[in-house]
């Protein structure tokens, strides 16, 4: 055991944080949740929401804690993005940050967020202000990763309510990829993918004729999450 103590004791502990990149879709646009930073340095500037990791806390639990502080929602899609570990990334000291990204369903209304302890707002991803430290780079990486995930995995469904129409799904994909998608191709490709289960009811809020509601096929979804699928439209 003396060797153990010797070896581990030679290592020098460092500060570890998590930072959360929270995406949602509103007004047919991909949006990012940003916060006024509350600690120095750079207090008052726009930032991602983060926290230091506690010694008795899993790193992923720290990221969940940050999200749960914002919302009671329990089934938020969250994925680890990357560890940002450059020595000089934080002018306040040497802090290694593990970034996580999340997708919020459009029916998880933004009002459900109790950000009263924070000054927070949603911004369209083409209107993000300058963020502190390397948070801008984290967001860039997260958008790129989201687009890549969305191209080959059915993550777009994470941004939808349980029952949705094909036009709604189309808008989510247009928001993620930031370009128009041909409606007919989209419909054809998705129906062929076996990902959608048509429900015997219609949504008539957007047109008189209405659009059939669908739910997604969990089994196909799980399989495609594993194996990948080309969602390029």
């Amino acid at each position: 055991m003396s060797k153990l103590l010797h070896n581990y004791n030679n290592a020098e502990p460092q500060l570890i944080a998590v930072d959360c990149i929270v995406f949602g879709v509103e007004d047919n646009q991909l949006q990012l949740l940003i916060f006024k930073r509350e600690v120095e340095p750079l207090a008052g500037e726009w930032s991602l929401l983060g926290s230091f990791v506690k010694p008795n806390e899993d790193v992923s639990a720290a990221a969940k804690r940050v999200l749960e502080e914002l919302s009671d929602l329990k089934d938020i899609y969250m994925e680890q993005l990357h560890c940002y570990g450059n020595v000089d990334r934080d002018s306040g000291g040497r802090v290694i940050s593990i970034a996580y990204w999340s997708l919020i369903r459009v029916n998880q209304t933004h009002e459900e967020f109790h950000a009263e302890n924070h000054i927070a707002k949603w911004v369209p991803i083409d209107q993000i202000p300058k963020l502190v430290l390397d948070h801008g780079k984290m967001v860039e990486d997260a958008i790129e990763h989201l687009r890549e995930r969305a191209r080959f995995h059915p993550v777009g469904f994470e941004l939808l309510p349980e029952e949705f129409t094909i036009p709604q799904l189309l808008k989510v994909y247009e928001a993620i990829f930031d370009h128009k998608i041909d409606d007919r191709n989209f419909r054809k490709k998705l129906l062929k993918s076996d990902l959608l289960i048509q429900l015997p009811k219609k949504d008539k809020t957007t047109s008189k004729k209405g659009s059939f509601l669908y739910k997604f096929n969990q089994e196909t979804y799980e399989r495609l999450l594993q194996s990948g699928y080309n969602f390029e439209f």
Copy 2:
């Protein structure tokens, strides 16, 4: 500044390590480089090679330092895999580990590794012994990630010498995916991808007739690395 000191001082520093998953292809098999662990707990058991991150060192620099200790090779393909941050992952104490994975070209002969300071060996990925801590899980995740990357990005080329034959490339892909690939389809798809540049010479070491040597098209490669490409055969 007192708020700064107050806030950052409230956080408790922790040990951070890097662990390296090194893959190579030999005997038409995907192989992993493993080491006898030198520190307690679990000294003498099979392990990945890792190191603690120093306070004045970027996390990625720590991973490069570990690889460079093993080899003089400078252009090793290295990518961050994931941060493993569960509280109980290391029975020697709370250590957060950032895992990196690497691909070694087949012509970077394994003899070039000066592992004299370590007891090391290459093992085919279906014959990996039990590894310490969560290193087995790291390797599983890395294999899954490598396969996913290889399905949609031309990473297979990282395992080849600069000039290679199509049968060599086929063997690398068969090793990564661990199944036979139809030779004709493979050749057709690759020639169509614009990734290969045929050289005016043949490799005659494996057959009398010989196989044309190719190099890969760096420009197409960069483009496909960004945009993705379906390499499923």
